[in-house]
């Protein structure tokens, strides 16, 4: 058995395989099908200061090797999370990471402050990349000053490990990555979904209620790998790679490109056991290549 553990800032993960926010609920939904304690981490659904109903239906459409979604951060708010969900999941033997979203900087700060005292929250992931909300979200993540303002405000409100989730919908993701790092991010995760659109040609209407939505799935993977590779070279903090990872082989692409850990998102919808299978695959890969630790693969791309 090779060493699979990796460090994200001060946070030690038992392995590099995590679940992406908004694709895995609070973990409980998958408990019949996998042993949650085997995961490196669970990043729970985007959590906001106040409850959000999200966008109207329809919110998803399948596209070639992918899907568009426009959920719009539906969640019951941070108070509900702290009072009702946290007690149910805090004893899991995996890193519980809360994705923090908001419309204003004050919203982000309020959620961070509410989460800060919780011992069993291993980290927060500041989401400055949601493409499906009218205010906040991605708008903070598309400029250096926007990213800096949110991240530095959250840094003051949260003492633990702070991951910042970046949007790919920018001209140069490395600029935003550096800005987030300078503002105090302990790690960066990328990519969130790509802004996309699909049309029902017979009805001549958009497939989503919001017209545009976020594209995920294997169709985005090569772009996400490229961005992770660029960002990993541009910053000193650990990078967490995501975007269309379906299996262990895909996860290794990101790790070789420079990611310290990975997140499985849309894959959970197709194969709820994909994460667990990938952990086995990575272990076998390390054995097969005569490696002791997954850390030897991080950024080990021969190019």
């Amino acid at each position: 058995m090779a060493n699979l553990s990796v460090n994200i800032g001060n946070l030690r993960l038992k392995n590099p395989v995590m679940t992406a926010s908004g694709t895995f609920g609070y973990g409980e939904e998958f408990a019949d099908l996998i042993d949650l304690n085997q995961l490196g981490g669970i990043i729970v659904k985007g959590t906001t200061r106040m409850p959000r109903q999200g966008n109207p239906y329809p919110r998803m459409v399948e596209t070639p090797s992918g899907m568009l979604n426009a959920v719009g951060l539906q969640n019951k708010g941070v108070d509900y999370f702290v009072e009702h969900i946290y007690p149910r999941i805090c004893d899991l033997d995996t890193a519980i990471i809360v994705n923090v979203s908001g419309s204003t900087i004050d919203d982000y700060v309020a959620v961070c402050e509410r989460l800060n005292p919780l011992d069993k929250v291993a980290a927060v992931e500041i989401n400055i990349s949601c493409p499906n909300v009218k205010q906040g979200g991605m708008t903070f993540g598309t400029t250096c000053t926007g990213a800096q303002s949110v991240v530095s405000a959250c840094r003051k409100a949260y003492d633990g490990t702070m991951i910042v989730k970046l949007t790919p919908n920018v001209t140069d993701v490395t600029e935003i990555a550096r800005a987030a790092q300078e503002a105090g991010a302990d790690a960066l995760s990328l990519t969130n979904t790509f802004l996309g659109m699909a049309i029902d040609v017979e009805r001549q209407t958009p497939c989503l209620s919001t017209i545009t939505g976020g594209l995920s799935g294997p169709c985005i993977r090569p772009i996400a790998v490229r961005m992770v590779w660029q960002v990993a070279k541009a910053v000193n903090v650990p990078v967490i790679g995501l975007g269309g990872i379906m299996n262990g082989r895909d996860a290794l692409e990101f790790i070789l490109a420079g990611a310290t850990a990975v997140q499985f998102g849309t894959a959970n919808f197709v194969d709820p056991q994909a994460t667990i299978k990938a952990i086995g695959y990575i272990n076998d890969y390390l054995d097969r290549h005569g490696l002791d630790s997954v850390n030897q693969l991080i950024g080990a791309l021969k190019a």
């Binding site: 908004g22 694709t23 939904e29 999200g54 239906y57 329809p58 899907m67 979604n69 194969d271």
Partner: protein, 261 residues
């Protein structure tokens, strides 16, 4: 309404009964072990093989659990590329299925229960009727379709109870839609369970509300995960706002829905 444990199982296609070109009744046997407990109205998420342009699972109503033969029945309509690949499966092929999912129909033991189905929506009503009959009830069916050729599994339904029929073109039964049938307009039933196209379910729900009849409908909102994680399949409810059809439904009492009917 029980919380059945979810399973992901490989099945072998034992039989593919095709009804015309648009429908297939798949009879599937678990590769190993027994079928898990399932309730009428619950559904399965089916991984589609042989379909290069799709990758999400397809939600399909559980049509029957045949315990004697250890077979799961899924009735599939050829709607797009994914369901077409399912309709074209051959005996002996393997299918990966997650089940059971969601909350099914309420099993009423008081008064007459009318099961109203349209098109491929008759699928879950077969299992519901079978379970009701096993419990000593006498389910009645009202099945609607575009034409006689679209009336599916009629023989099976006739074995369970009285079957009333409507067709849009009048080729069988009463000419018109299900809400024109006297068995429905008479209002002589305590409960309605309905599954079919959205306009049909809305019309049945409107009639039920006018007549004060308890009514449940089975929704088929577009979904990705089928297990409450992606939050894509939401339906607006009177009591809780947007809820996932895959976990809180697919069966809803019409009183929960905010349909303008």
């Amino acid at each position: 309404m029980t919380e059945n444990k979810k399973h992901i199982l490989d099945f072998t296609v034992r039989q593919n009964l095709r009804f015309g070109t648009n429908y297939a009744l798949l009879k599937l046997m678990p590769a190993c072990g027994e079928l898990p407990p399932c309730e009428p109205g619950q559904f399965a998420q089916v991984l589609v093989p042989n379909s290069k342009n799709t990758f999400l699972r397809r939600p399909i109503s559980i049509c029957n659990i045949d315990r004697n033969e250890n077979l799961l029945w899924l009735l599939v309509r050829r709607a797009g590329e994914g369901t077409a690949a399912l309709c074209d499966l051959h005996e002996g092929e393997t299918l990966n299925v997650m089940l059971p999912l969601g909350h099914g129909f309420t099993l009423h033991r008081d008064g007459t229960m009318l099961l109203v189905g349209g098109g491929v929506g008759v699928a879950p009503l077969f299992m519901l009727g079978k379970v009701l009959k096993e419990q000593g009830m006498q389910p009645e069916f009202l099945l609607g379709a575009r034409t006689q050729a679209d009336l599916l599994m009629l023989g099976h339904f006739n074995d369970l109870g009285t079957v009333h029929i409507t067709t849009d073109d009048g080729s069988a039964g009463v000419h018109g839609v299900v809400t024109k049938h006297p068995v429905l307009t008479s209002g002589n039933m305590a409960h309605i369970a309905c599954c079919g196209p959205m306009p049909m379910m809305r019309a049945v729900a409107a009639l039920a509300r006018q007549q004060g009849i308890d009514c449940e409908v089975s929704l088929e909102n577009l979904m990705a995960c089928g297990m409450g994680a992606c939050l894509c399949c939401v339906e607006d409810t009177a009591d809780a706002g947007n809820v996932c059809v895959c976990t809180e439904g697919p069966v809803f009492n019409i009183n929960r829905l905010k349909w303008q009917i």
